[in-house]
Symmetry: C2
Subunit: 110 residues, 2 copies
DNA sequence: TATCTATATTGTAATATTGCAATATAAATA
DNA sequence: TATTTATATTGCAATATTACAATATAGATA
């Protein structure tokens, strides 16, 4: 049906899924990597960095913003984008949990 | 169009996106959390743990397996599932990169 | 071998996502 | 104010995802 049964899962599970889903597209990975690479707020050159049309990039930026992974400030007629620490911190705990588990697990059959 | 232009992105970007996308569903988060919680290979009780029909769970398990995030071994007529370290290690680096960046970034406008 | 149990596959309907052309908006500047 | 520049929104077509009933498969056991 294409419709996720969110109501049957916990808020935390839904939130983590939303964050991971937002990261789950190569264009959005590329945007995140670019924001890190230039190490400053980026005013609009993201469209030129990506092999996609402007409306498509705008849509991807919107999804990252909605998920809480990037922030955008108006700066004149342009917009400055940068990573939103809050969003990434929420995922951080999840992966730390997994890594700690994987480092310590023993007696596994697979 | 619903079709991702993977060919325009690097292999690494596509791979990270595939992994994140696989994690990006609450049912699959729940599966991962369950595998950690029981701290052993799980033989089939995953269907009972989730509020979804058996074929749907089977489909989610397949997606996690295809992405390299879990492994499954036949154990009699059941199957043992557990986390696949390899898949999670691939994402680990990405998030470490982001976290290191976020901890050190300064002079940001947003 | 027949049956049971556990899991996978197939087929299908509903919904979501991706991408872009066309267009709208909004601030800056001529 | 008219124009330019940067970004967002709308509308739409193509494809992907989600969910499940029905069915298939495959090993275990009676």
């Amino acid at each position: 049906m294409g419709i996720t049964k969110s109501e049957h899962f916990t808020d935390e599970q839904n939130e983590l899924a939303t964050l991971a889903k937002a990261i789950g597209h190569p264009a959005r990975i590329a945007i995140i990597e670019h924001l890190i690479k230039v190490n400053s707020c980026v005013c609009g050159d993201i469209v030129n960095e990506l092999p996609l049309a402007q409306p498509t990039v705008s849509q991807h930026l919107k999804e990252l913003k909605n998920a809480g992974l990037i922030k955008g400030n108006f700066e004149g007629n342009a917009i400055c984008y940068c990573l939103n620490e809050e969003g990434f911190n929420k995922i951080k705990g999840f992966f730390q949990h997994i890594n700690t588990y994987l480092e310590n697990k023993k007696n596994q059959c697979c």
